[in-house]
Symmetry: C2
Subunit: 348 residues, 2 copies
């Protein structure tokens, strides 16, 4: 097939070893030879066989990536691509290849993720969208190679948790609403199979309990889809004593809620304030533009790679990396309530 170091060696009348050394710029070959070898290599359009190299050095320079996308095929998961961009960028920058596995290929049904990785000799792996009820969780815990999991915490010797500081994010959102004067604040949470749902719910409960305003009846559960947000929006409208604001645990659901509210004739944001979570692109174009908690998905990808790389190089590194969330104020919360609150406060 292609040209190998042997061909170059033959052409120059030297040994393959010498060529190998020259190509790798090692210092136990003459400069003279290096120059010659490089020239011929160029001439013959030589390209090293990474398979052979990896086999002999026992180093694959490869990271496996598994994406369990939340919204399969729909492309409604802009986050997936952002994670991936960060992962690619950082991996390639460090000389690592990314091999990508799809969610619902037959492969995954037959073989475990770990097995897939072992066969390819990946040095580490990154998981996205892993659910709490995944059948391979135990295996992951005992992985022989380092794994970064984005947004799901799995306790294991070789696994890290990369996420946004969800508690802080929720508090950012609720605190904003609180300062705007809201006291009855509902939550539409994601499904329980996602770890972030638990984190966000706990943070929500904690915050409102601190204020003495937690109400069980204001807790709603969707599944991160727009449709489920729409449905929960309907339920909220049926409440006898409506909340004045809703914290929605994902922008996609928030978009659904808003759709429902608008359909039912609510004036937004005057009659209902809404804060989302994620900062996905469509939120900007929604009307009203969605106020939300921003996550830096690209950076999460970068951190995921970095942790794996550190592990590979024997460094320890913190097994829990939480990035800073950011409150992005747009138009889906009624800021006039604030003045109303001040008036009330002034009176009392």
């Amino acid at each position: 097939m292609g040209v190998t170091i042997k061909d170059i060696a033959k052409r120059l009348g030297v040994s393959a070893t010498a060529v190998s050394k020259a190509l790798n710029d090692r210092d136990d070959v003459s400069n003279e030879l290096k120059v010659k070898v490089r020239k011929i290599a160029e001439e013959m359009d030589y390209s090293p066989n990474s398979l052979a190299k990896r086999l002999v050095t026992n180093k694959s320079n490869t990271i496996g990536v598994f994406m369990f996308s939340r919204q399969k095929n729909s492309g409604h998961d802009p986050f997936g691509f952002q994670f991936l961009s960060g992962i690619m960028e950082e991996a390639n920058r460090n000389g690592y290849d990314i091999v990508l596995f799809s969610t619902d290929s037959d492969l995954l049904a037959e073989k475990s993720y770990i097995k897939l990785c072992k066969e390819r000799k990946v040095e580490g792996a990154i998981f996205t969208g892993l659910r709490l009820d995944d059948p391979h969780l135990e295996e992951i815990k005992e992985s022989p190679f380092p794994i970064s999991i984005i947004d799901t915490e799995v306790k294991g010797n070789n696994v890290s948790f990369i996420s946004t500081d969800n508690r802080k994010g929720v508090r950012l959102a609720l605190n904003y609403l609180w300062k705007l004067g809201h006291r009855r604040i509902a939550i539409i949470n994601g499904h329980k199979k996602a770890m972030v749902s638990h984190l966000r719910y706990n943070a929500y409960k904690e915050f409102l309990e601190e204020k003495g305003q937690f109400r069980e009846e204001l807790v709603f559960t969707g599944d991160f889809t727009e449709r489920s947000g729409y449905l929960c929006g309907g339920k909220i409208l049926e409440l006898k004593d409506r909340p004045s604001a809703v914290f929605v645990a994902s922008d996609l659901m928030a978009l659904g809620v808003i759709k429902k509210f608008k359909e039912e004739g609510l004036k937004l944001p005057e009659e209902m304030s809404i804060v989302g979570f994620d900062n996905i692109f469509p939120g900007e174009f929604n009307e009203p533009a969605l106020t939300t908690i921003g996550q830096n998905a690209f950076e999460m990808g970068v951190e995921a790679v970095n942790w794996v790389l550190k592990r590979i190089n024997g460094e320890k590194g913190n097994k829990k990396i939480l990035l800073e969330p950011e409150l992005i104020i747009r138009d889906s919360c009624d800021t006039n309530q604030f003045q109303w609150l001040e008036r009330v406060t002034a009176k009392s």
Copy 2:
């Protein structure tokens, strides 16, 4: 490191060859041995070394994927992920690995795409977002392995062009506007480095020339970003004789145009009808919801893989695969103009 067929062989007192055969379920080994080997393999948690296998069989079972994302890092490119989903799905389904290369890693600056691929012995490659001024175009033309390029046509013996039927898409859009009564229809096109821009412009020109309504002054050029759409929107507003409709060659730009129009107080869609191209998610949530030409990005990924696979298997296959576009009617075009047209027609 891991356990190899040799270990299994030793344990069973047979040769490595026999084990290999048994594991591969070949018919020149006894069933008896197969059963034993499988049992021990399981027991020892054996996993084959794909590197070694690929080296010796000279078959990498790998497809390289290069994504030059239009909007780097921004995640504003929901298409990228949809392509990729289709690619992953179809490749994995056929037993192929995907190795992913990032746009702006240093790697790409140093080495050519082809070189990168050769080293990894990929059997084929897929390109997305490749620009007409890419420095490696010549090399791609002469690729020794099959390459599917999405949305860019590069003539070459081993390369295919996977795209939407852009001409048809444009005609779908313009015909819709035409039937609605529009005669002065502007275009905001993408930059000239993208092949689709040429295709869309040509189709636009062709259609309007057929109708005797092509006007040079109604042609505007953006760069696919929202910002550029916004800017072009401003220019359209400065026109003495404004068009009644705008065909925008990407939804992202369309969103920008609409933003500008709304800022300037235009009533939409009454005072300006807009049709986009792509059918990205945010368009649904825009107000007015964006009427657009839908492309099936997932399917494009699937087709790209299939073509490469066909080539690998020696089949010929059409080197130009055009998927059907779809007119998605939402709220950004004024449908009342139609009635107006009928009135006019009735009068004359």
